[in-house]
């Protein structure tokens, strides 16, 4: 697939001496939704800020839509829309004025029709003549998205788009992102909500302490690291795990009412049938059972732990 952003050897060391980004190489494909995952302070925002021109890279080159972001910043930036994490708006401006301003700033001729459709899509049209300071936090977030979409970008950066927003807005946002993808817009979002990446992303990159430790197709990632958990609701609670079950490494949960077995669903032998046979041999009865796929969050946590464990 065609690359739309190529990052090569990017590093950023702040004046304070903090190395926010260790050498990063990353290619974003045209039309994909890429989720950049990582804990707070991992370097997600720095990475986005460098691509968007807000932070100057220490070393490395970035090409966006065929244009170097430093030497051909005009061409590169006019293709990019950014919704930053912080809710920073011009409090005294009206919604319509601020979104129209953004379109002009990005060098596009006025297009009231487009502005109207953006505002309608984000449920802002009724509020277009309201001053931004009178809006709720969620509405302000919508205004910032409208500003980023005002100039019809081909590449959209969403930095923590759903941090602190309500369920309705989050759902709206996900729908909007899907619609934009259908229009061919490439979307890069950062998040520390795993469910967001899981719900929307095609590919996931995990960034930790300024290092991109993993870039993978979301489905492949989940398959590769996918653990399943079998939970058995016991008829009678157990005080301790019977020694006969030692080879399955099961644990007791919920004051002995639940027995948990974690297995790798990709293995030929999952150990589930043999465990169930053993239980019936031992006369341990259960009322119910269920299995659950480990979420990206579990994968992420295990990755982070593995990494910090290795470093320590």
């Amino acid at each position: 697939m065609q690359p739309v952003i190529s990052i090569e050897g990017l590093t950023k060391t702040y004046k304070s001496g903090l190395q926010a980004l260790k050498p990063i190489d990353l290619t974003i494909r045209k039309g994909e939704i890429f989720a950049l995952l990582g804990p707070n302070g991992a370097g997600k925002t720095t990475l986005i800020s460098v691509v968007c021109g807000i932070v100057t890279p220490t070393t490395g080159t970035i090409v966006a839509d065929g244009h170097d972001i430093q030497t051909e910043y005009r061409q590169a930036r006019s293709k990019i829309g950014l919704v930053p994490q912080e809710l920073t708006t011009d409090a005294f401006e009206t919604v319509l004025a601020t979104v129209t301003f953004s379109r002009g700033l990005f060098g596009k001729a006025p297009d009231p029709k487009h502005i109207e459709s953006v505002l309608r899509e984000l449920s802002l049209w009724e509020k277009r003549n309201d001053k931004i300071m009178t809006l709720s936090g969620g509405m302000k977030r919508r205004v910032m998205i409208a500003k980023a979409l005002s100039h019809e970008p081909d590449i959209l950066f969403l930095d923590e788009p759903t941090a602190g927003v309500d369920v309705e807005l989050r759902r709206d946002m996900w729908n909007l992102v899907r619609r934009l993808r259908e229009q061919g817009v490439t979307i890069i979002l950062t998040t520390h909500y795993i469910e967001e990446a899981e719900e929307m992303a095609d590919r996931v990159g995990v960034i930790l302490k300024g290092e991109l430790i993993l870039v993978e197709e979301k489905t492949a990632l989940m398959k590769k690291l996918g653990k399943k958990t079998l939970t058995l609701n016991l008829q009678d609670p157990l005080q301790t795990v019977p020694p006969e079950l030692a080879e399955w490494n099961v644990t007791l949960k919920n004051e002995g009412h639940e027995l948990e077995y974690v297995f790798d669903s990709n293995l030929e032998k999952t150990g589930v049938p043999s465990l169930l046979r053993k239980l019936s041999d031992l006369g341990i009865a259960f009322k119910d059972l269920n299995t659950s796929q480990s979420s990206l969050e579990d994968i992420f946590v295990s990755l982070v732990h593995r990494d910090t464990g290795a470093a320590a």
């Binding site: 702040y14 004046k15 800020s49 968007c52 021109g53 807000i54 932070v55 100057t56 839509d65 065929g66 244009h67 051909e72 910043y73 005009r74 061409q75 590169a76 930036r77 006019s78 990019i80 950014l82 930053p84 912080e86 920073t88 708006t89 011009d90 409090a91 005294f92 401006e93 004025a97 129209t100 301003f101 953004s102 379109r103 002009g104 700033l105 990005f106 060098g107 596009k108 001729a109 006025p110 500003k147």
Partner: protein, 263 residues
């Protein structure tokens, strides 16, 4: 790729216009602060210095005292308002964080300067003309060289707006924003011959005063009104352009290094 590149013009006129309009709208929202306050302040100067004290003063260079102080008073407002407007215009987005949009937009440093400084200069020049009209109510006015007067007004507005823009980028807090206008510009203006001709000073002080750059600006502006100044008009113009050039160099350096704009 080439067909796409050609859609991006070499000069982002829409961007400049958007910032300019934004800045002008801000002035209209704060019309009391931007226009009414300086006009009232200036009117008070005319009442006190022009009418109350001025009537007891002799003419200076054949000009009644009330009329003599008009160019100086306009300059005083022009300096402070240009600096205030331009510094606030760029400092406020830095303060609130909305500057992210400016930094991520396809606008060049030159375009940013043209838009912000242009808007601030427009406001100051308009204010200068309003104060001039106000002055006409209080004192008999004459403008010998109206075209030069206008040109000088615009030149000074632009130069000090540029200076204000630099202060706005440099400032790390509201206190610093006020510091230069209050502690440097206002004293230099008061001591730069706003209210007197430097010929009225003892010779030693006159020499000291000649080191005050504001003297040259006020003198040049006064020349456009009455055909005479403390120094020659050529010297005044050279001093003004010199200051403009210094400001341009500083702004250029700030954008090249990302000074206090980018990390």
């Amino acid at each position: 790729m080439n067909s796409q590149s050609s859609r991006v013009p070499a000069f982002n006129g829409y961007g400049v216009w958007a910032i300019y309009k934004f800045e002008m709208a801000r002035a209209l929202r704060t019309i009391w602060q931007s226009v009414v306050t300086p006009v009232i302040t200036t009117a008070l100067y005319f009442v006190v210095f022009g009418s109350a004290i001025g009537s007891r003063m002799t003419e200076i260079d054949g000009v009644p005292y009330g009329a003599f102080i008009v160019p100086g008073l306009i300059m005083l407002s022009l300096f402070t308002q240009s600096i205030f407007n331009a510094s606030f215009g760029i400092y406020f987005p830095k303060f609130t964080g909305t500057i992210y949009e400016l930094l991520s937009a396809p606008v060049s440093p030159l375009e940013i300067v043209i838009a912000y400084v242009g808007a601030a200069a427009t406001k100051s020049a308009a204010l200068g003309l309003i104060i001039l009209a106000t002055a006409a109510f209080f004192v008999p006015l004459q403008v010998l060289h109206p075209i030069e007067m206008l040109a000088f007004l615009i030149l000074i507005s632009t130069t000090f707006s540029l200076f204000g823009f630099i202060i706005g980028i440099w400032a790390n807090g509201f206190e610093q924003l006020q510091m230069i206008p209050m502690l440097v510009v206002t004293p230099l203006t008061f001591l730069g011959g706003s209210f007197y001709s430097i010929d009225m000073l003892p010779p030693a002080w006159r020499t000291v005063t000649l080191f005050n750059p504001v003297v040259y600006l006020i003198s040049g502006f006064r020349w456009t009104f009455y055909g005479s100044g403390d120094v020659g008009i050529g010297v005044s113009l050279a001093a003004t352009f010199g200051f403009l050039l210094i400001c341009l160099l500083i702004v250029g350096w700030m954008f090249r290094t990302g000074y206090r704009l980018k990390n």
